[in-house]
């Protein structure tokens, strides 16, 4: 009997040892979502009182039928105008001065991008924004010297709703009631931000779309003391992250202000490095910048950077933060305002439009993570390409041939950059942006009953 008992115990032990471990029930293996080329794409260009032209391009490599149209975003809906855009090409078209919606169907839809330029002698550049769920603008102001206007465009027929959140140097502006801004279908709304938060010098703004699709852009005007007010479009900054780049720093500037926004709940510090043509280095005498939670921090870098950039070196700032932040740099070059947004470095294909006139160069800045063979394709009347090898942690200027309307950059390592244009009247900068070529087809499965 005793033997039987001990045998039962041993059997129990053996069976327990062979038992499969504890398991969660109903775990579903998910496959990666499928992708397919976009079949439709929209971008919305901001209104421009001075420029009747819009530059359009499609980085698409698709073949087949396509139809690209332009229409003004105003109710009642204007009749769309057909635009002769081909896949993998760029063109400049006349367009209404109001906000304009560019709609592409078919082959031109993947990689559609556009911009419009303005100002006397072309000193302002406004990207045509694709509808996005979340857009950040850093460096807007509502004071007498510096004021901003937000334009929201809804490319769909149904109404869309956007929410605004503002952050100031004193913290998040919860008191600003700007939730649930409704934009009618095919319409565009302009909001003077000074009505929302009057008399603030430096603000960061987050535009989120809760319903429908909305493309957001901001027009900024800045009065340099003693000169007449300059205006420029404010390019959207990256969504908050811990590693950012501010490309396109010019050698000389009258004024350089770095604006950082920390929308999180925890404070942090941001380290600033400069990536020049030869290397990346920390500027002497520049302490890490403290960014308290929920606040916008302004740092005047005019003096610090003055001695650091030699010759006609092109440079970029590398920002490394302990908490997710976003930011931008405002520079005044030859009396003109230049807004340099903080962006994230990406590898792969990016694109930017090229202004119709001026001394242009494409600046490419690699991170310390790596370099490699880069390729730039110039779109326009005389398409051409540039190939070169970029070293890690350096900034390279690539000359842009005349007659170029848009360009596509492609690189194996993370990089950032943009098209810098100098004219007699000032300077402007258009950052390289990633394009949407694909549509994600989500894997759709029935839920378990308890979900």
């Amino acid at each position: 009997m005793l033997v039987l008992g001990l045998a039962a115990m041993l059997l129990t032990g053996a069976a327990l040892a062979l038992q499969a471990p504890a398991a969660e029930q109903g775990v579903v293996e998910r496959e990666a979502p499928q992708r397919q080329p976009l079949t439709e794409a929209d971008v919305a260009c901001p209104a421009s009182s001075v420029s009747p032209e819009v530059s359009l391009a499609s980085a698409s490599t698709e073949e087949g039928d396509s139809e690209t149209t332009l229409r003004s975003a105003s109710a009642p809906a204007a009749e769309p105008v057909l635009v002769p855009l081909e896949a993998g090409n760029a063109t400049r078209e006349r367009a209404p001065t109001e906000a304009v919606i560019v709609h592409a169907e078919g082959a031109t839809a993947p990689g559609l991008f556009a911009a419009r330029f303005g100002g006397t002698g072309v000193t302002a550049a406004g990207e045509c924004a694709a509808p996005a769920a979340e857009t950040w603008f850093v460096g807007i102001g509502t004071s007498g010297v510096h004021s901003s206007e937000l334009q929201l465009t809804n490319p769909d027929s149904g109404p869309a709703v956007a929410d605004l959140e503002l952050y100031s140097v004193d913290g998040p502006m919860d008191e600003v009631r700007s939730r649930g801004l409704t934009i009618a279908g095919n319409d565009s709304t302009r909001i003077d931000l000074s009505n929302l938060a009057p008399d603030r010098a430096e603000l960061a703004m987050r535009v989120t779309v809760s319903r429908g699709r909305v493309a957001a852009s901001v027009q900024d005007s800045y009065s340099v003391p003693g000169k007449k007010a300059a205006f420029d479009w404010l390019a959207a900054s990256s969504t908050p992250t811990t590693s950012l780049m501010v490309p396109g720093l010019s050698r000389t500037a009258d004024e350089r202000t770095l604006v950082l926004a920390n929308p999180g709940d925890a404070g942090g510090r941001v380290e600033v490095k400069i990536t020049g043509t030869r290397s990346t280095f920390a500027p002497a005498g520049l302490e890490p910048i403290e960014v308290p939670a929920g606040e916008v921090v302004i740092t005047d870098l005019t003096e610090q950077l003055k001695g650091q950039l030699e010759g006609d070196e092109d440079a970029a700032l590398q920002l490394t933060s302990t908490v997710p932040v976003t930011g931008s740099m405002r520079a005044v070059v030859a009396g003109d305002l230049v807004q340099l947004p903080a962006v994230t470095a990406v590898s792969g294909q990016t694109a930017a439009m090229v202004p119709p006139s001026g001394d242009q160069a494409l600046l490419l800045t690699t991170t310390n993570a790596g370099g490699g063979g880069f390729k730039v394709t110039f779109l326009g009347d005389k398409p051409s390409t540039w190939r070169g090898r970029l070293k890690p942690g350096t900034t390279t200027a690539v000359p842009v041939p005349d007659g170029t309307i848009g360009l596509l950059a492609d690189g194996p390592a993370p990089y950032a950059g943009g098209v810098r244009t100098r004219t007699s009247k000032g300077s402007l900068f258009l950052p390289l942006r990633t394009l949407r070529f694909d549509q994600i087809l989500p894997e759709v499965t029935p839920a378990l009953p308890d979900e």
């Binding site: 062979l18 769920a133 759709v444 308890d450």
Partner: protein, 955 residues
């Protein structure tokens, strides 16, 4: 006046000598004695001719009425005194009857009938008939004659045994009705006489002893055939009498009433396990009702015999309420029997214990210890028989501890006072009708409509919730509130028996109390309670009761073994409905027991009453859970081993041994502390057999768990594994029993033997064992982490819920997730997914077309896809937060649907422009579902009846 004594005999040799003696001893001898024999053997005839002479004995081959009519022709006296061959008159019987006949103006006189051979009990003092056809004597059963009914009174009828009747009345009324050869002859005759204006008097001073041979089935008759279906003949006669004699005005009502009454009586007989009587009832009804011509003829002949207006006899019939009183009596009898059953069992055990104790005392002799064999329980000793209930409770420490135990467990489970949901527990449906629909409908209008079988526990839930003032919420709340006390009560009952059986010592209330506390906290400490695993919680409460019922298999009485089989079958079915692995485990145990039994003691196992009940136990669940067992065939069959409720994680090997489901459970080491004393319990020789049996059960459960844990159940939406909750309960329960048996009587043994290593070891093991209940309860009371809570507000806005509740065809498509990691969808209908629907939905194959359509809707919604959504029975799309912007933007831009409002800003909702039809998801369930359901209900009724207590008072 002249009297002829007419003795009608039929195979009455057993009683005739006494009857003839009685007849001879009459103080007033009848003027003439005439005997008519209706076809008896020679012995009866011989007795008659010896006593009366061959002239007075006539043979006539016919029924009693025919025999009387035959004899009537030969009688010329004024009065006829009819006697049966089993009716023995007292010497003064005829004297008193004749005296009464002279004193009273009446035509029929009857004596007081007393039971023969007891001679003391009253049988009849005149009879009447109730409206349901029952023969009413107005006496209690077995009432002793103490002169309490000794006054002359009028009655509807008197028994033909000892009846003194005026000859001309007998002739005028045409004698007894030949349609009533055996039963109710007297009632019919009395009724007819009364209608014709003749009075019937009962003369209690005249006494006749009657053996009621025909009624008791002691006499074989040609008319009834070999198998005497007394009951059927009695009922047939009663129905005939009522229909033939009642007034024409009341006849239609009587026809209907008798039919329903017969059905009710039939059900009653079925409930007390008398299928023969039930069949008699039905056959009698059929025999009478299928020949209306017979009734018509009888009524016609009665009308013809009537001269002048019939006399109203209603005052002589029994009052209208009498049948209902009999019904009430029957029910209270049944309840008493059920109540006595428990007491009987307790008394039998007590007697057995006394016996065992005496035996042990004598065998151990001088080594016996005074404390060990104290037979009377502490609680019984404390309960003085004359003290009030309250006093008894207050003065009994065990009662106080029990009350405290229940209060503490209620306090720990206080969250269940109110609607409950979370973990594996879905919210209860708002109305019990939802549960009944799940049970009764083969096609469930949930999801996209499905014929997947509903889980077995829905029927008991629905039945419980059908009790007045109960709702599904109350049922679920009670399950979670009362599981621990119910488990404790069951453990207490089984613990006392097992500890005695296993160790041979008297059960110690404190040790059994330890076992109760240890076992009862398992549902909570294992995490089953806190994780909403209501299936495991219910099984934990039922398992000790099952074990207690299973102890009936070792009863010596075959009837009790069968009873144990049916009860175990019913309880196992209930447990299987919650934790289906229970059936598999018991099947293995039964196979093992039968194999070992036949292998080691084939002869002892041979009788059907030994192995039959065991087979009943494993055969019952598949039959009682019929729609589920067959309905699952179209799906992955292993899915029947899924535990009740939403899918919940399975325990690992250590958790299984320690009685813990991973998270939200008491620490594992507390549970493992029980394994040590249970293992050491094997070392004690005296209780070794029981402990080894426990360990064999544990080993079997562990092996089964190891096998089941490798099985993957492929559900349409995901993969799952069989639930191991029941095995966890079995292992922990067996550990508790092993320690309990191993410890019973140990203290006395140890204190008697000299100090050695055994005492310190026992102390350490006792510490380990004590840690388990203390730690478990402390954890439940103090920490008690759980996933339970009030049902969370739905993601579906209230106005949509109103639409979905309006008809099953209206649904809300809920889309969750994001494009990168994949989206999931499900359909919300009615109240959303409620308790009982999870398993159905988990078994349902998703609608492929809908799946494809949803995939297209969230990526490239064409107008055609949007239009198809209303055909799928969908009115709205809801995307709870966090909303994927791409999907939201896609749906915003789609035509054919408009944005809808949601209570929560972060939730997005859309409405399809076209409204879904109400019957969008209607379908046809399998044709056999109603049949299976009927079979299931029938099987449940049958087994419930078979579970009932054994009736002692069989006739």
């Amino acid at each position: 006046m002249t009297v002829t004594a007419l003795l009608v005999s039929h195979e009455g040799a057993r009683w005739l000598p006494a009857v003839l003696t009685g007849l001879r001893d009459q103080q007033l001898p009848p003027d003439r004695i005439l005997a008519v024999d209706t076809g008896s053997g020679t012995d009866t005839l011989g007795l008659l001719t010896d006593a009366l002479g061959s002239d007075a004995v006539h043979s006539y081959d016919g029924s009693f009425p025919d025999a009387v009519r035959h004899a009537l022709a030969m009688i010329d006296t004024e009065w006829v005194w009819i006697l049966h061959d089993d009716a023995n008159p007292e010497p003064r019987a005829l004297l008193e009857l004749v005296a009464a006949a002279e004193a009273h103006d009446a035509d029929i006189f009857g004596p007081k009938l007393r039971e023969w051979p007891s001679l003391r009990r009253l049988l009849e003092l005149g009879v009447t008939i109730s409206a349901t056809g029952r023969r009413e004597t107005g006496l209690e059963r077995g009432e002793y004659d103490q002169g309490q009914h000794d006054e002359v009174r009028e009655s509807l009828a008197v028994n033909t045994a000892g009846m003194l009747v005026r000859r001309e009345v007998l002739e005028k009324l045409g004698g007894f009705d030949p349609e009533l050869p055996l039963f109710a002859t007297d009632l019919d005759f009395g009724w007819r006489a009364a209608r014709a204006g003749h009075r019937t008097l009962v003369i209690p001073q005249a006494v006749v002893f009657h053996a009621e041979a025909g009624h008791r089935g002691q006499r074989r008759t040609k008319l009834l055939g070999r198998r005497t279906r007394t009951h059927r003949a009695e009922r047939e006669a009663a129905l005939f009498v009522l229909l033939a004699n009642d007034t024409g005005r009341r006849l239609p009502w009587q026809v209907v009433r008798l039919m329903f009454g017969s059905f009710v009586r039939m059900l009653g007989y079925l409930l007390v396990r008398s299928p023969g009587h039930a069949a008699d009832e039905l056959v009698a009804l059929f025999n009478v009702y299928s020949r209306p011509g017979r009734i018509r003829a009888a009524r016609r002949s009665r009308r013809a015999a009537q001269d002048g207006d019939p006399v109203d006899v209603r005052r002589l019939l029994s009052p209208w309420w009498v049948p209902y009183r009999h019904g009430l009596d029957a029910i209270s009898d049944l309840a008493n029997a059920a109540a006595n059953e428990g007491r009987d069992a307790a008394e039998r055990r007590r007697a057995a214990r006394m016996e065992a104790a005496a035996e042990a005392q004598s065998s151990l002799g001088a080594h016996s210890h005074a404390g060990r064999l104290s037979v009377s329980d502490d609680e019984d000793a404390a309960m003085a028989p004359d003290s009030g209930l309250l006093v008894r409770i207050v003065t009994s420490p065990m009662a106080m501890v029990s009350i405290l135990f229940v209060l503490v467990s209620l306090y720990a489970a206080r969250e269940a006072f109110g609607p409950l949901a979370g973990g594996a527990l879905s919210p209860a449906p708002s109305s019990n009708a939802d549960w009944w629909r799940l049970v009764t409908e083969g096609w469930h209008r949930i999801g996209q409509g499905t014929d997947a079988p509903e889980p077995g526990y829905v029927l008991p839930f629905a039945l419980t919730a059908s009790i007045p003032f109960f709702t599904p919420t109350v049922v679920v709340g009670m399950l979670f509130l009362l599981a621990v006390p119910v488990a404790a009560l069951g453990a207490w009952r089984v613990g006392r028996v097992v500890s005695e059986l296993g160790s041979g010592y008297a059960a110690s209330p404190w040790l059994v109390g330890w076992a109760v506390a240890t076992y009862a906290v398992i549902p909570a400490a294992s995490g089953a309670w806190g994780q909403g695993r209501f299936g495991v919680v219910a099984s934990a409460a039922l398992l000790p009761w099952f074990a207690h019922a299973a102890l009936g298999f070792v009863e010596p009485s075959a009837d009790r073994r069968w009873r144990a089989g049916w009860r175990c079958g019913l309880l196992l079915s209930l447990i299987t409905a919650f934790t289906p692995v229970a059936w598999l485990f018991v099947l293995l145990v039964v196979v093992a027991v039968l194999a070992v039994g036949f292998g080691m003691a084939g002869q002892a196992m041979r009788p059907r009453s030994v192995w039959g009940p065991l087979v009943v136990v494993v055969a019952a669940p598949p039959v009682l859970l019929l729609p589920g067992t067959l309905g699952v065939l179209g799906h992955d069959v292993t899915a029947i081993f899924l535990e009740a409720g939403r899918l919940a994680s399975t325990p690992g090997p250590v958790g299984l041994l320690a009685g813990r489901f991973d998270d939200l459970a008491a620490p594992v080491w507390i549970g493992l502390a029980l394994v040590v004393p249970a293992a050491f319990a094997v070392l004690r020789a005296r209780s070794r057999i029981a402990v080894v049996v426990c360990w064999l059960l544990i080993a079997l459960a562990a092996v089964l768990a190891a096998v089941l844990s490798q099985i993957t159940i492929t559900l349409p939406a995901a993969e799952a594994r069989p639930g191991l909750g029941f095995l966890l309960l079995v292992i922990h329960g067996a550990l508790v029993v092993a320690v309990l048996v191993g410890a019973t009587g140990l203290r006395a043994e140890l204190s008697a033997s000299g100090l050695s290593w055994r005492q310190p070891l026992a102390l350490v093991l006792a510490g380990c064992a004590l840690l388990v209940p203390l730690g478990g309860w402390a954890w439940w009371l103090v920490s008690g982490d759980d996933e339970l809570g009030r049902p969370a507000a739905d993601d579906v806005p209230a106005y949509m819920s109103q639409v979905t509740r309006s008809a099953p065809g209206h649904g809300v498509l809920l889309v969750r997730g994001d494009v990168e990691s994949g989206l999931t969808w499900n359909v919300h209908r009615g109240d959303g997914t409620t308790l009982g629907e999870d398993e159905v939905l988990a078994l349902t194959d998703p609608d492929k077309q809908l799946d494809a359509d949803v995939g297209q809707l969230v990526s490239q919604p064409t107008p055609e896809v949007v239009a198809r959504m209303s055909d799928h029975g969908l009115d709205y799309v809801v995307m709870p937060a966090p909303v994927d912007p791409q999907v939201a933007a896609t749906l915003d831009a789609a035509s054919g649907m408009t944005q809808a409002s949601a209570a929560d800003r972060s939730t997005r909702a859309w409405q399809f422009d076209e409204r879904a039809p109400d019957d969008a998801i209607d379908g046809e369930g399998p044709w056999w579902h109603p049949w299976l359901l009927g079979l299931q209900i029938l099987a449940i009724l049958v087994i419930a009846v078979l579970c009932g207590p054994t009736r002692r008072d069989r006739r």
